[in-house]
């Protein structure tokens, strides 16, 4: 399960970043090729960046590679280190659930309910914000999974 999600997420991210590069290159090219340059590329680029940024952040969270100050962790005994890491995971999960899942879902729901549209593409803004709860769910899932593995290996020792 975890492996499948990781793999799928990797492909989605590579795809999104590729589209992002092509979009901005097209913005430059269309100015020189077309008589009337495309008018949506800059809005699309912004939305793609939100997706790449937040989904990428979820992917990095799964790999536990977000920047942190781990002086205390390094100086701790294995026992205290284990407790601290559990605490850290809980804090991360708490943020993912409250802000990204709860806050993000309410944002998405209200955008759809009030039918807010993007300015240039005219697409529903709720679809753009959907990445918030999505990334939140992924972060929470990855951290719960990591925590489960930590507890398991701690029992063994």
């Amino acid at each position: 399960m975890r492996k499948t999600i990781d793999k799928a997420l990797e492909w989605v991210l590579v795809f999104l970043l590729s589209v992002l590069v092509l979009d901005v290159l097209w913005q430059v090219a269309s100015r020189y090729i077309l008589n009337s340059p495309s008018s949506y590329t800059d809005e699309l680029a912004g939305y793609l960046l939100i997706w790449v940024g937040l989904l990428g952040a979820a992917y990095v969270a799964g790999k536990r590679e977000h920047l942190a100050i781990d002086l205390l962790l390094q100086k701790s005994s294995p026992e205290r280190k284990f407790k601290l890491e559990i605490f850290i995971s809980v804090v991360v999960i708490l943020f993912a659930i409250t802000v990204m899942i709860v806050g993000g879902s309410w944002l998405v729901y209200t955008r759809f309910y009030l039918s807010v549209k993007s300015a240039a593409l005219g697409m529903p803004l709720g679809a753009v914000y959907l990445v918030l709860p999505l990334s939140g769910i992924l972060i929470a899932y990855f951290d719960i999974d990591n925590m489960y593995n930590m507890v398991k290996s701690n029992r063994k020792n």
Binding site: L17, A57, L72, I88
Partner: protein, 487 residues
């Protein structure tokens, strides 16, 4: 009234940080806690998530994944090694030459890739064994690599200057890029001088080191004289004449370099070949900066052009295959994810800080201590140096720009100048123990623990601080270039 909010914010942030919660989540949690003090639960959570998403919807931020991607492609595509070969012909034969090659290669690669971390890993992994072959101690090589990797942050293009432009509310990116050249080069120079002095001291004792420093002092006096000359010409000659003078200096330097190369025929032959090899790689700088200045594309669009160019070049060099691309893209996404979550949560935090008028309160507090501009700049530098020891660059720029910028602009400091001060200052932090991404990367490339590099790092750290102070109190070092080009 806002005292309680400030307390909640600072207290929770420090606790989470010390425990080891990732910086982005520490910022996020302390931000949302502060928000909950004065805003209802659901609006607060929704507002924070809205700030996170919309904050990333910025055309300026786009350049960041693009320059990271371009850097990664260059790293795998054989572009870095050509830059090292080129740097080697520039300074080969001088005592401490390989150390200088390390610094110059970092300046060139960092300049083009815009990322200190990419630079430290790319150049470090190639140069570390080279320096070992020449008999340099490992920790010395690592210290040179770590400190010089940060010079690329001020030499354009530079992701962190883009972040600053965003945090400052839209200072021109092009002007910032131009302003970064001299301070970045000056830092590189400072590191080279220190490294060579250290080497001479070790090999030939105090006297020789003093003599070397004497020469450096003479050169410094020369530079100050030149600076005085430049200010004189700016005050008394027209902009056109000044531009002619600039071109003359550049041309004289080029002629000097050519003559010096030609004098040694055999070297010249190899040199010319290496130079020709490096031209396509160096062309990237010309295309990126030239394209912006000539109006083919904006600074943001230039970053996508850089990706395209690096890709084409790597395919021509036949060092990247199509099937390598997903991996390179994924590596770039990872770095992007780290930076973007920091940007996102910081924008949530800065929203609540603005809502509670925290920047105004902090600046009032700071101004009540002293109103002397010299002292305020010194205090700000000290705060940033301290912050930089523990915190990475992007969050630091995002958090402190909105707090400090209004104070210094009220004193008449140019926002462009202040951006360079901030970036230089936090660059020092990137390589100061105990925490710093470039420090970590440099040590892991060299296979050393952090405490081993502290001793050789210290003198170079002092050199960087001296350059920082020069840049802080002589605005022309940063502003001369953008001003002479009409910004």
């Amino acid at each position: 009234m806002e005292f309680f909010e400030i307390f909640v914010l600072v207290f929770s942030f420090i606790i989470l940080l010390v425990i080891g919660v990732p910086i982005a989540f520490s910022i996020g949690i302390s931000g949302i806690l502060t928000m909950l003090v004065s805003i209802d639960m659901i609006p607060a959570l929704t507002t924070f998530s809205q700030r996170m998403a919309t904050g990333l919807d910025s055309f300026a931020l786009l350049a960041i994944p693009f320059f990271i991607l371009a850097g990664n492609i260059m790293n795998s595509g054989g572009i870095a090694i050509r830059l090292i070969d080129f740097a080697r012909i520039l300074v080969g034969g001088i005592p401490g030459g390989v150390a200088m090659v390390n610094v110059l290669a970092n300046m060139l690669f960092g300049a083009i890739s815009g990322s200190a971390a990419a630079s430290a890993s790319a150049i470090g992994s190639i140069m570390q064994p080279e320096m070992k072959k020449e008999g340099y101690p490992d920790n010395f090589s690592a210290a040179v690599n770590i400190t010089s990797a940060t010079t690329g942050l001020s030499i354009p293009p530079s992701n962190i200057l883009i972040v600053y432009s965003l945090a400052s509310g839209g200072v021109s990116i092009t002007a910032l890029f131009l302003a970064g050249y001299l301070p970045g080069i000056l830092t590189g120079l400072g590191i080279i001088i220190t490294a060579i002095t250290m080497l001479i001291y070790k090999r030939s004792g105090t006297k020789a080191a003093m003599r070397a420093l004497g020469i450096v002092t003479l050169i410094a006096v020369g530079i100050v004289a030149a600076y005085k000359g430049v200010s004189f010409s700016r005050a008394n000659f027209s902009a056109g004449l000044n531009r002619v003078l600039l071109y003359l200096v550049v041309a004289a330097f080029a002629v000097w370099a050519v003559i010096k190369t030609i004098r040694n025929k055999e070297k010249a032959k190899v040199g010319t070949k290496k130079f020709l090899d490096a031209i396509p790689s160096l062309l990237m700088l010309v295309i990126v900066i030239g394209g912006i200045v000539a109006g083919f594309f904006t600074a943001t669009e230039a970053s996508a052009i850089a990706v395209l160019y690096a890709l084409v070049l790597s395919f021509i060099y036949r060092q990247i295959k199509i099937k390598d691309l997903p991996d390179i893209f994924l590596r770039s996404v990872k770095t992007t994810g780290v930076v973007m979550l920091l940007v996102a949560t910081c924008l949530g935090l800065s929203w609540i800080m603005a809502y509670e008028n925290i920047p105004q309160n902090v600046s009032e507090g700071l101004l009540s201590v002293t109103s002397n501009p010299f002292m305020i700049l010194l205090i700000i530098n000290m705060i940033l140096l301290f912050v930089g020891v523990f915190m990475d660059m992007t969050p630091a720029v995002l958090i402190f720009t909105p707090i400090f910028l209004p104070i210094v602009t009220a004193m008449g400091v140019d926002p462009i100048h202040f951006g360079i001060i901030m970036v230089l200052n936090l660059s020092v932090g990137l390589c100061t123990p105990p925490v710093g991404s470039v420090l970590f990367i440099g040590c892991s490339v060299a296979g050393l623990s952090i405490d081993k590099v502290i001793k050789p790092l210290l003198p170079m750290f002092i050199a960087m601080v001296i350059v920082l102070l020069l840049v802080t109190y002589i605005p022309d070092i940063s502003l001369w270039l953008p001003k002479s080009l009409g910004f």
